[in-house]
Assembly symmetry: C2
Homo-oligomer: 360 residues x 2
């Protein structure tokens, strides 16, 4: 079949890693007889450089007209890049927030998984790792503090800044449904994370999640306070299956969880709307310090492409093949520098892409 | 000298651990020739049981009339305790929030320190621990999402909940000054944590912190995004000296940092206002599951009492003596069950209190 894919190379290592993901997708095309047509979309710094703004309406339209969006990473070095001389609403990150909202990508899925082969990179002791861990964080992505009203005002010479954390029951329900649906395909456990001992939005969150849970009698639901969850991720990550949480808590906890795996260069993510459409990107950032050096790990982006095949294009077999190829290359001992270890074979970005493509 | 101390035994293990801290303080009195008069204050579940509310005006007055407040812990098992049948504003935790506000305790100091003797309890690998770590989190405690306006409204049959994150420049300035003052007595490094790529309140935070930094040319200031900080605490905790952050981020990060030490039963905290007055409590919770068993670790409370001696009563020598006694008892191999390890001598709550008192 023919699919239209919008490609966002982005900034920093983005173009390099997206090129490898495309290489792998082209191989999938050849082997499974599909055809993918790609359209490039500018976002973030790359868009500022050309258009003066981090996201244009045309970019949004191109993305909307596609079956899915595959992205590298956006943003630069905040200390040195001229992008960060611009006011906040014009910086690269603002483009990412704007496209999430424009495409209604309310469900952000971030797997945090410990590869057996990469246990050495995990910062936790063997006894804490136990039998390993495999969780997915389901983060609400278009609500909360990220998109609430905000203002900075001066009264009697004193500046006050206000951000607003708002959720309505429908926003909570749809993300909860997503989390429970995913749990049904996994280990049937949902940990809903909130701060219900303080926030009204968290109390509504808890109530709605409990209502949704009634439709999933097989799924075990537990509520956990966000401060406790931040502890548990370090103390016993194996206890988690699906973590369901709001936007800001999800931002913090998913980054913590990804670092707990020790191999953030391996972690994919998907941002979905109510349809099959989604935007797929690595969990890691644009790593401007190593951009252009040919050493970035493309596996998170390649695995994001696999998520795209599975969730947006319904190509499960093809997604399995990509994931199996990644697993195979790890088993064979190939490593980019970020996950390099004694006795392994170090390869660069392009070689890693080739190795995966050859194994499809 | 004579000092008035308000004691809040609180709930769960609170009364047991406060009793041991009092034992140690009495010993300090005897040895150094002070006199401490204690007044008990009810807070949390203990107050609900007697007064029907988690904090009374009388309790606040008693606390205000004292030189400092020493607290155990509050709250119970949210699943089983009748306190959690009450509406949120009447539960034990609401009393804690109310007393913080009533006493204007805007500066929460939470040290996260790795004892050499307790490296075995740290969840991180040796190579991540490196030379160990010793940081203090300075958390703003009376602003932000915790105390902003909130409401839950129904419009057209849809329920929406709103919380507000507000900071004015004065609130930011006074906590920043506290952090820089503390950094001057330590390793002269402040990491200010915010989410300035999204929040107006964080952008104001960053601006004010930079202004304050100008008065401390010797202190190195760096800004870090909260998601990155959640990663760095797991990746390289040794990089931190003083972490300065707002209320909710501080709640999450301080709990993560305390779990990273692996010995949360050892961690004290202080909550201070603009004067010398403060409330001192262990970083850990009320552990209802082990309440009354005589096995709780009283060291975090004893170390909180040491912080009280130092910050509120200006008794540095006495504080040193308590801290040295704790260090000595650890070196001698005594451990409560939560930090027990092979070859060590296991003791209960009371014995641990005796051991510390004897060494003052
Ligand atoms: C770049 C930033 C605005 C973004 C976020 O906070 O959502 C990033 O941290 C992420 O998690 O994708
Ligand atoms: C009990 C709760 C309201 C409180 C907080 O969130 O501040 C606690 O977690 C703490 O950190 O002291």
């Amino acid at each position: 079949m023919n699919y239209k894919i919008a490609l966002i190379p982005g900034d920093g290592i983005g173009p390099e890693i997206v090129a490898e993901a495309k290489k792998v997708l082209d191989q999938v095309c050849g082997v499974y007889g599909h055809s993918f047509s790609y359209e490039e979309v500018l976002l973030g710094g790359a868009s500022i450089d050309v258009h003066g703004v981090p996201l244009t309406d045309e970019a949004v339209e191109t993305a909307k007209a596609s079956d899915a969006v595959l992205m590298g990473s956006i943003g630069g070095d905040a200390k040195t890049s001229p992008w960060y001389q611009l006011e906040p609403s014009k910086r690269p990150e603002a483009g990412l927030l704007a496209i999430r909202k424009a495409l209604n990508l309310f469900a952000n899925l971030r797997p945090a998984y410990l590869y057996d082969e990469l246990k050495g990179a995990c910062p936790l002791k063997e006894e804490v790792i136990g039998d390993g861990f495999d969780m997915i964080i389901v983060r609400e992505l278009t609500g909360g503090l990220y998109f609430g009203e905000r203002k900075t005002v001066v009264e009697n010479g004193v500046t006050t800044a206000v951000d607003t954390l708002t959720y309505n029951e429908n926003e909570i329900r749809r993300i909860a449904v997503k989390a429970f649906d995913i749990a049904m395909k996994r280990n049937k456990k949902v940990t809903s994370v909130d701060k219900a001992n303080v926030l009204d939005s968290s109390r509504l969150w808890r109530k709605v999640v409990e209502e949704v849970a009634k439709d999933y009698p097989e799924v075990a639901l537990e509520h956990m306070l966000v401060d406790n969850c931040a502890m548990q991720l370090v103390h016993d990550p194996g206890q988690f299956d699906v973590i369901l949480t709001e936007n800001m808590f999800g931002d913090i906890l998913s980054d913590e969880a990804s670092m707990v795996t020790g191999s953030i260069g391996m972690l994919s993510s998907a941002s979905l709307n109510e349809t099959k459409f989604g935007l797929y990107e690595p969990s890691h950032g644009s790593a401007p310090d190593i951009a252009g050096k040919g050493i970035a790990n493309p596996l998170a982006t390649i695995l994001s492409a696999a998520m795209m095949l599975r969730y947006s294009l319904d190509l499960d077999k093809e997604a399995d093949a990509v994931e199996a190829a990644v697993q195979k290359v790890l088993t064979e001992g190939y490593r980019t520098v970020d996950i390099m270890a004694d006795g392994m074979k170090q390869v660069g970005t392009k070689e890693m892409g080739d190795l995966i493509a050859e194994r499809i």
